[in-house]
């Protein structure tokens, strides 16, 4: 494996992903990520000098909608997914910046 993921990197990625990993899981994630990066590195072997970066699989552009209201009140359906609701809103742990 050419890519070695450091402890710091796995720690940082864990914070970004809001994941708490056990030591065992960290080791597993390090080796998985290393293998993924090795795989992606294969692209570096190709000459892409004249290749446009691709951001979309199909060559479509300018798909628009008109500014017209098409949706109604679907609160009931929406809230049926909520583990907990109150006053028509989702209840989440206290979140404040």
């Amino acid at each position: 494996m050419a890519n070695n993921i450091s402890d710091e990197t796995i720690e940082y990625v864990g914070i970004l992903a809001k994941l708490e990993l056990s030591d065992e899981e960290k080791e597993q994630a390090k080796s998985d990520m290393g293998r993924m990066l090795d795989y992606i590195d294969k692209l570096g072997e190709l000459d892409t000098t004249d290749v446009e970066p691709m951001s979309h699989v199909f060559s479509v552009e300018n798909v628009f909608r008109e500014d017209v209201v098409t949706n109604g009140d679907e609160r009931e359906r929406l809230l049926s997914n909520a583990p907990q609701e109150k006053d028509g809103m989702f209840v989440v742990p206290r979140t404040f910046e």
Binding site: L16, N62, F64, V68, E74, D87, P93, T95
Partner: protein
């Protein structure tokens, strides 16, 4: 303080666009709906749902770009900005990082010294707003309303070209004016349809490089912005003077306390891992589309001012104030089109309208009375059916609830009494009741007539024409 410092400020301004629907779905953006009643799978981030760009958002963004001298990106894309927060149901915000719709613009502002300068615009990009978090103090939890999730925003990123709070306010006022003229947003700071984040650093005068900057959020009025800039400048200078260094961080301004505090701690690393959004197609702006938008651009303030000078005989100062806010200019033009004399319309705007707006803290875009009713009121005074103090009284009611002045005057019996007989009778009574004043007047005391006019007006319950009263009094004496 021995050293001379300079404040360097750049702004990130978010403007909520005045579309009927959200940026990527057909949900209404109407204000004030019950929580979560304007949501769908797209704006609540349900797996499998697909966003489609609202064409009006693109057109508004391009129109603002053209009006602020930007280059329009002919091939633009959307990207995902990844972060976890309950107001963001997708765990990413759709925004534009790599190819924003507008770049390299700028607007001219007046500096504190009265000179002119250009504040550069680095870019303008389109993005979606997040939902609203409400904190439930009783149950120690937070509640989420996604009605605002997906409401279209443009973010206007300036260059670090401003050097004082005054320049920042001038820049914001300029942006607001241009955007209001375009009808792209009402730009209300208090209601959050215009939000400004202030990036600020200080450096010694003459220094080549910038100091470390902080970003300040939660500024909902021009006053708060001014205070926050002054407070943050002082805080940074104090740190430098004490030999400490400024930490690059996001700070939240507490206007009640008049101080800011750091919002995000270090372990919450800000790394948004942007990548192109594969659900949205790229936007290719054709020459035709650009021409169409250009052709639709409205008459902006400078052109409007020139036209007013040509067409209307009103003072330059009035023109400046009236064209300063689009709703005032619209009101003025509509009332004039209905036949009211321009000078009189201007007087009502410059006088009572501005006075009541200030007194009651009403925004120009929230004025309630119609130009029709203003024109009617002017006509009532022109034809001397009501006198000026009654007119002011009626205007106050119109200002509050847009009543029809003709109807109101009729119902309340406020019409000036033009019946000469009734007037004469009242004046004779007043003369009889005030022999001292009558004598004073006859002895050459001009002021005494004013008292007698006042007494007559009082007896007529204000419903007389003071000019006519004055004239008749003189005749009878």
């Amino acid at each position: 303080m021995s050293k001379q410092y300079e404040t360097v400020i750049g702004l990130e301004v978010h403007v909520e666009l005045a579309t009927k629907t959200k940026i990527f779905c057909g949900c209404s953006t109407a204000f004030g709906a019950a929580p979560n009643t304007q949501t769908c799978p797209v704006c609540t981030g349900m797996p499998g749902s697909l966003p489609v760009l609202n064409k009006q958002v693109l057109e508004y963004a391009i129109a603002v770009g053209l009006a602020t001298n930007c280059d329009i990106t002919r091939y633009a894309k959307f990207d995902r900005k990844n972060y976890f927060y309950p107001d963001n149901p997708q765990n990413y915000q759709i925004s534009q990082l790599y190819l924003p719709i507008c770049r390299n613009g700028g607007v001219e502002i007046e500096t504190d010294q009265g000179g002119k300068k250009i504040v550069g615009i680095h870019e303008i990009h389109m993005e979606e707003d997040a939902g609203k978090l409400i904190h439930d103090e009783w149950e120690d939890c937070s509640l989420v309303d996604y009605n605002r999730s997906g409401v279209p925003l443009i973010e206007i990123v300036s260059e670090p070209d401003m050097r004082s709070a005054g320049e920042v306010i001038a820049y914001l006022e300029k942006l607001r004016q241009v955007i209001q003229y375009l009808g792209a947003s009402d730009c209300k700071l208090q209601e959050g349809s215009m939000r400004a984040d202030v990036n600020l650093s200080v450096r010694e005068v003459g220094a080549e490089t910038f100091g470390t900057r902080t970003e300040m959020k939660n500024l909902n009025s021009f006053k708060a912005i001014t205070r926050a800039i002054e407070g943050e400048t002082e805080r940074q200078i104090d740190l430098i003077e004490a030999g400490e260094s400024v930490v690059q961080e996001t700070r939240r301004w507490d206007d009640a306390k008049g101080e800011s505090y750091a919002m995000r701690s270090k372990e919450d690393a800000q790394d948004y891992r942007y990548f192109p959004d594969p659900d949205l197609t790229p936007v290719s702006v054709s020459e035709d589309m650009l021409e169409e938008i250009r052709a639709r651009q409205p008459e902006f303030r400078t052109e409007k001012m020139a036209r007013y000078r040509e067409e209307f005989d009103i003072p330059d100062y009035d023109i400046e104030i009236i064209t300063g806010e689009k709703p005032l200019a619209d009101l003025f033009e509509a009332a004039v089109a209905l036949g009211a004399q321009p000078k009189k319309v201007s007087n009502w705007i410059m006088g009572e309208t501005l006075r009541l707006m200030k007194e009651r803290e009403v925004d120009a875009s929230d004025l309630r009375f119609s130009p029709e009713n203003l024109a009617k009121l002017i006509s009532l005074t022109d034809t001397k059916q009501i006198n000026s103090s009654v007119a002011k009284e009626v205007f106050e009611v119109m200002f509050a609830e847009n009543v029809d002045p003709e109807q109101y005057v009729e119902e309340k019996g406020l019409k000036t009494v033009n019946d000469e007989g009734a007037l004469k009778k009242t004046i004779e009574e007043v003369i009889a009741a005030n022999p001292q004043s009558v004598e004073d007047y006859r002895n050459g005391k001009e002021k005494a007539i004013g008292f007698l006019v006042g007494q007559t007006m009082k007896a007529m319950k204000g419903k007389a024409d003071p000019g006519a009263v004055n004239q008749m009094l003189r005749e009878l004496l």
